[in-house]
């Protein structure tokens, strides 16, 4: 019951985080001004700032964080490895290589995103093709293929960075560290987040069983291979969408599921919606901090997520011991 109340609290907290994130920015707006602008859309400057700049940015941060937390939760179940994060299977490496290559050739942001999506899809196809054989797969093989591919992509990304002209380097590094300032395609990402969250929730009970191991899951009635394939593709697509939206934002996908488990949330029927809410809220707050703390300079949000997340996680771990 207490866990269900926590979910209710998080659902109520989400609009508050949204409001606070929209409230802060390089232009000072009062809470009343933001509230009015949110309720009635007009043509004044305040409304433009709120609706054209801040709301899309906060929604992008929420979508990106939610997708990463969802992908991390799913991959930790699939690989039964607490170190699994959305980037472990090389999807982000493929996306980053695509995006940076597009930047190297001076393509616009739309093409950069398209290249990132293509890179991510190629990485998903490669890791799946290498590890799935004749209707069966070995999860260790999947993990190893992903890690090896990610290393290969890492080397190629370094090569692109070495070859890149000085003028492009900063943009590339921002993209690599996570940057929501160029986020577009927020609506499709939010729709995808909603669809994947509901779909994962439907499998929540099955995910609980899958954590006991493949054989035990079979004895309890789980069709193991189809379920694992569904998890793999859902997590990979969520990662690809998050990376295309905000670059490789670190830490959210690894830390959010752990944080909730340390708080005693182990049932995936609760863990999944909570991870999406906490991941989205955490990235929205982090991004607000990243764009206001050193304004007008914007920090890569990946730096902020790590600076916030590391002490919280270490504190919880030390208390648990």
């Amino acid at each position: 019951m207490r866990r269900s109340l926590l979910l209710g609290f998080l659902i109520l907290l989400a609009p508050a985080i949204f409001f606070v994130s929209v409230l802060f920015g390089s232009v000072d707006l009062s809470a009343g001004q933001v509230f009015d602008a949110l309720l009635s859309r007009s043509n004044d400057i305040t409304s433009d700032i709120v609706w054209k700049l801040r709301v899309p940015r906060v929604l992008a941060a929420f979508g990106c964080g939610g997708l990463l937390a969802l992908a991390g939760t799913l991959l930790q179940v699939l690989l039964r490895n607490p170190l699994a994060d959305p980037y472990i299977l090389g999807v982000s490496g493929g996306a980053a290589l695509g995006a940076l290559s597009a930047m190297l050739f001076g393509l616009g942001m739309v093409n950069v995103n398209l290249a990132a999506l293509c890179g991510a899809l190629i990485a998903i196809a490669a890791v799946f093709g290498l590890s799935f054989r004749a209707g069966d797969w070995n999860l260790f093989c999947l993990l190893l293929c992903g890690v090896v591919l990610a290393s290969g992509f890492g080397a190629l990304i370094s090569l692109v960075l070495v070859l890149a002209p000085q003028a492009n380097l900063k943009g590339m590094l921002f993209w690599l560290m996570g940057d929501l300032s160029q986020a577009d395609q927020t609506t499709p990402a939010l729709i995808l987040l909603a669809v994947l969250t509901v779909a994962s929730l439907l499998f929540g009970g099955t995910l609980n069983i899958l954590g006991l191991g493949d054989t035990k899951a079979k004895t309890l009635g789980v069709a193991v291979i189809p379920t694992q394939l569904a998890i793999f593709f859902a997590a990979s697509i969520a990662t690809a969408a998050a990376v295309v939206l905000g670059g490789t934002v670190g830490f959210v996908g690894l830390i959010v599921p752990h944080l909730l488990r340390l708080l005693g949330i182990t049932d995936h029927r609760l863990l999944i919606p909570m991870a999406v809410l906490v991941g989205g809220g955490f990235l929205a707050i982090s991004d607000t901090f990243a764009r206001t703390f050193w304004a007008p300079l914007q920090l890569p949000v990946g730096i902020v997520t790590a600076l916030f997340g590391v002490p919280v996680m270490l504190f919880l771990l030390s208390r648990k011991r």
Binding site: R80, G213, K216, T219, L220, G221, A223, T266
Partner: protein
């Protein structure tokens, strides 16, 4: 209830059982015994539908196991594995509640949980005081009892138990055997157990299957097949039978 006809199981270069035909009826409790690596677990997995290749030769009621969905099998056949991933983050109670999974009809399944049955299952294995503890903090024997509680809550018609007594002290060994014998005799379920301790078999199992090297086997009522000659051939060591108030006991010489 569960039968196999001409079932052969092997690994490359090693035959585990050759042309085994076996019928396990409701109310019976079977012991499978054999040396390490003789194929007891492989046979148990085949009987539980966990070996896809063997599923066509094992029949539950009228059909072979391959004809049933995983959920239907899980409603009827419960398997206690010899080893299970210890990577479960929840409490003992949460863990035991997973046993209801095959019976859940709704997506979320909360309403299908019978909390009284959960508590009964936990109580039968003596874990009531530890029900809220995290699974990963339990000792080996406590963990084994939690796994048995999950199986009890699963409520299958057939229990396939791979070394159910491992990690258990003497008290819980007997308690576990009493639980499953009662399920067989009173509720007419079928129980198949891989056991190493010969002391318990004459008292708690009415049938036994002895798996020999090379795929040979002997099966039948315990009183007939569990004798010094068969066991000496099985274990390749000298044994002595001692009659006690509780039945025959076999001691190594």
């Amino acid at each position: 209830m569960l039968r196999c006809t001409n079932l052969s199981l092997s690994y490359p270069g090693k035959t585990l059982c050759d042309n085994l035909s076996l019928e396990i009826a409701a109310g019976q409790s079977w012991a499978i015994i054999g040396k390490n690596g003789s194929g007891k677990t492989t046979l148990l997995h085949a009987l539980g539908g966990l070996n896809a290749a063997a599923s066509r030769q094992v029949f539950f009621r009228e059909n072979n196991l391959g004809a049933y969905s995983r959920k239907t099998l899980a409603k009827n056949i419960g398997v206690l594995l010899q080893q299970e991933d210890a990577n479960y983050w929840g409490s003992v109670r949460d863990y035991v509640m997973l046993g209801r999974y095959p019976h859940q009809r709704s997506i979320f399944g909360w309403q299908n949980q019978n909390l009284q049955l959960v508590e009964d299952a936990i109580s039968r294995v003596g874990l009531t005081a530890l029900a809220s503890r995290a699974m990963h903090t339990l000792s080996g024997g406590e963990g084994q009892r939690a796994r048995i509680a999950l199986l009890l809550y699963q409520q299958p018609q057939i229990f396939l138990l791979d070394e159910p007594l491992q990690h258990l002290d003497l008290q819980y060994q007997q308690q576990t055997l009493k639980i499953f014998t009662e399920l067989a005799q009173v509720e007419k379920r079928a129980v198949v157990m891989v056991l190493h301790d010969l002391m318990w078999i004459p008292r708690y199992c009415d049938h036994a299957l002895l798996l020999y090297e090379g795929g040979h086997f002997i099966l039948g009522p315990t009183a007939e097949v569990l004798n010094v000659e068969n066991l000496e051939n099985l274990y390749k060591c000298r044994l002595k039978a001692v009659e006690s108030d509780f039945g025959r006991i076999f001691l190594p010489c």
